[in-house]
């Protein structure tokens, strides 16, 4: 926190805004996890955090550190890339697992494997 | 100490580490080579231990000689030091001798029964030696974990339902205890700011009264951990089952494991809470005394109640460690002297007995059926396990019987082996606080209790051993004579022979023990050697 004082106002405000937006979006996603009704609906919710939430905060971090260290700080980008690449894996597998579990238990509203 | 001798102190840890690591690179089938490496490493440890003992015991500065090895050449209270005083040197030698015997025994059969026996064995030795040598509280934790981890592996060596069931308890309890260890160590660090044992001894008297309960809580929790390892009642119930279930050579080397707990109690309690510890002096001494006695009582009950020889032996381990704990709790140099002698004697005797039990019970091994089931399931892996179990050597039963008598005598504390001398020394010291030339003054209640305890435990051990011995050797005329190999009898004979040597050379050995006890009870020389005054002035400075 000690070094935050050296930051120009625009950067501070930009960072603040981005961080807040990111946090709010992520929170909304989490609330979705809480409020949506079925598993398949709830599975959509965290995507808010992994996309816009992460994006905003990563950019905020990049802006903040770049200004602070007066050089381009880019490594936060890696986080976005890795999150974007790995989220599909977890979601695909998880939803598929849910699908198979529901099918084997004949839960209602789940299209069977032979649907075409 | 010479430079060569200086580096000698690291050898008990580095040698088994290198041997164990090297054997990881060798394939499963190269057992002969592994056995050779393991045996040479263990033999080297015996030699090293003798050398260290020799250096420590060298005149003229006999009583106060302590070897200090500053790892990484960093100054003492900050980084880790290895400290070899008389007690550590003694334990090193005891460990290596017992290890050599166990290893030799295992070469007949046991080392083929599971994977990586030799590596595990070497790592166990590394852990044991490290625990004996280290002068740092947290490093002690690490070596404790190492020796425990290796002991888990060895306790499970050979698998089977019995071992696994016992191992599960053993591991669960020790894992919980390890966590307590961490609580204790970190609490002590948080209050004193140091981990070095000698430094702690300096800082503890200066702790403020507000902090003292916290420090004592930390020390108490640590104490619980060590007493658990030492097998103090009521924290000892895991021990008989685990030891009885373990493979013979493993159980034999385990005979030293409770002694690690006892060793740490001797080392730390006398160093940190000796007479010079200020307000905390003698903290917990009564607990040691009464806990030790309760342990002996429970051990005695267990020996009497045991149906099989292995369990009986395991309970005798409790009696042994309870005796040393109680004797330590009396806090007198002469009693500690006797306790040290007793420790060595009973460890050798119990080690021999554990080996022997397996030989005598060989005809009717209870785990055999379990092994058979496993073999059926995964046949091709254990094909050569049975192999050449042995040619029956002539007069096997007579030799086994003789060895059994020897072990029983050591364990029960009867003449002519060292058990008697040990009990005599303990009792003589307890009754006459300064050797035999006591003035006939009053005898403390603790001494009476110790007297009663040793006499009764000896009697109980005798009754139990006789019962078991008769059942094993006399009452079964038609039993098949176990097929025993010379390589299995030899270690037993060596250990019993050593007990005989202890008896004959009692004078010389007891002198060493007395010097050891004196150094333990007046740790100033230990502290002075680890933290020489010149170095403590230059504390801020790094290595030269």
């Amino acid at each position: 926190m000690s070094e935050a004082a050296e930051l120009p106002a625009w950067a501070a405000l930009l960072t603040a805004t981005l961080v807040l937006i990111g946090a709010v979006v992520t929170l909304i996603g989490s609330i979705g996890l809480l409020r949506l009704e079925s598993f398949y609906e709830r599975a959509h919710a965290p995507t808010l955090g992994t996309t816009l939430g992460t994006g905003c905060i990563v950019v905020a971090s990049m802006v903040y550190f770049s200004v602070l260290q007066t050089r381009p700080v880019m490594h936060e980008l890696l986080i976005t890339i890795f999150v974007a690449v790995t989220t599909p894996v977890t979601l695909m597998l998880l939803v598929r697992a849910a699908l198979y579990r529901d099918r084997s238990e004949d839960a209602g509203g789940i299209p069977g494997p032979d649907h075409s | 100490m010479s430079r060569f001798a200086d580096h000698l102190l690291a050898a008990p840890i580095v040698v088994p580490l290198l041997a164990g690591a090297l054997m990881l690179l060798l394939g499963e089938r190269r057992r002969a080579l592994k056995a050779a490496i393991s045996l040479s490493s263990t033999f080297a440890l015996v030699v090293v231990a003798i050398a260290i003992l020799h250096v420590i015991d060298l005149p003229p500065n006999r009583a106060g000689s302590t070897g200090v090895y500053r790892l990484g050449a960093w100054p003492a209270p900050f980084a880790i030091v290895l400290v070899a005083d008389r007690l550590a040197a003694l334990m090193l030698l005891l460990t290596s001798v017992l290890a050599f015997a166990s290893l030799l025994f295992s070469l007949a059969r046991w080392h083929r029964v599971g994977a990586h026996f030799h590596s595990l064995f070497q790592f166990l030795l590394m852990g044991l030696n490290g625990a004996f040598l280290t002068g740092d509280l947290f490093n002690l934790f690490v070596f404790f974990e190492l020796l425990l981890a290796a002991s888990y592996g060895l306790a499970l060596h050979g698998s089977g339902a019995l071992r696994v069931k016992a191992g599960l308890h053993y591991i669960a309890i020790n894992l919980a205890a390890s966590l307590l260890f961490l609580v204790g160590v970190s609490l002590i660090y948080g209050l004193t700011g140091t981990l070095n044992m000698a430094d702690l001894a300096i800082r503890i008297p200066a702790i403020t009264p507000e902090n003292r309960p916290l420090l004592e809580a930390g020390a108490g929790i640590l104490g619980i951990v060590f007493l658990l390892k030492a097998g103090m009642w009521p924290l000892c119930f895991w021990l008989p089952t685990t030891y009885a279930a373990a493979a013979a050579p493993v159980a034999a080397i385990f005979a030293i494991m409770t002694k690690v707990g006892v060793y740490i109690v001797l080392r730390l309690w006398l160093l940190l809470f000796g007479v010079e510890a200020g307000a905390s002096a003698q903290f917990g001494g009564d607990w040691l005394l009464f806990g030790g006695m309760a342990t002996v009582a429970f051990g005695v009950i267990g020996t009497l109640a045991s149906q099989d020889l292995a369990r009986l032996t395991a309970f005798s381990v409790l009696v042994s460690s309870g005796t040393v704990l109680a004797a330590t709790g009396m806090g007198q140099v002469a009693v500690t002297t006797g306790a040290l002698f007793y420790l060595v004697s009973s460890t050798l005797g119990l080690g021999a007995l554990f080996l022997l039990v397996e030989l005598t019970e060989r005809g009717r091994e209870p785990g055999a059926d379990v092994l058979a089931v496993t073999r059926e399931a995964f046949g091709e892996e254990d094909d050569d396990e049975e192999g050449e179990i042995g040619v029956a050597i002539p007069a096997t039963m007579a030799l086994l019987g003789l060895a059994f008598i020897g072990c029983a005598l050591v364990v029960a504390g009867l003449p002519p082996l060292s058990g008697f001398i040990a009990k005599f020394a303990l009792l003589s010291a307890a009754l006459n606080s300064s050797g035999a030339n006591g003035s006939g003054g009053p005898i403390s209640g603790a001494s009476w209790a110790l007297l009663a305890m040793l006499i009764l435990s000896g009697l109980a051990a005798l009754i139990a051993m006789v019962r078991a011995g008769i059942r094993t050797f006399w009452a079964a005329p038609n039993r098949t004579i176990p097929r025993v190999r010379v390589i299995e009898m030899a270690p037993v004979a060596i250990l019993i022979f050593l007990c005989g040597i202890l008896t004959i050379q009692a004078g010389t050995i007891m002198r060493y023990m007395r010097d050891t006890a004196e150094v333990l009870h007046t740790p100033r020389s230990y502290i002075g050697n680890v933290l020489p005054p010149s170095a403590s002035e230059a504390r801020g400075a790094g290595r030269s």
Binding site: T26, S30, L33, F39, R42, S61, I79, L94, A97, A98 | -
Partner: protein, 93 residues
């Protein structure tokens, strides 16, 4: 002024993200199905990662980046294992 705005917003972000963790934790606790719990854990990881990033901004040192990076790179492994377990009954076939 701008500094205090930033500070306040970071503190607020901590709070919001922690609340988000709370929501995720609720899902982990309540289920009802195993997949809900796993999804909750995954969301918890994402929230935690963002929390670590904002903490890095707040501290002004980039020493905390690696922790966030580890969540990004390896956080999914646990979830994958859990999902695989649900899907197949074992993690490695």
């Amino acid at each position: 002024m701008s500094t205090s705005v930033l500070t306040a917003s970071l503190l607020m972000a901590h709070g919001l993200l922690a609340l988000g963790m709370g929501c995720a934790a609720f899902r982990m606790l309540r289920g009802p199905r195993a997949q809900d719990r796993v999804a909750g854990l995954d969301a918890l990881y994402v929230n935690a990662m963002l929390l670590l990033l904002t903490f890095g901004i707040r501290s002004g040192r980039s020493l905390y980046f690696e922790a966030a990076l580890v969540v990004a790179v390896l956080g999914f492994v646990g979830t994958v294992a859990l999902a695989k377990f649900l899907l197949r009954g074992e993690v490695i076939e």
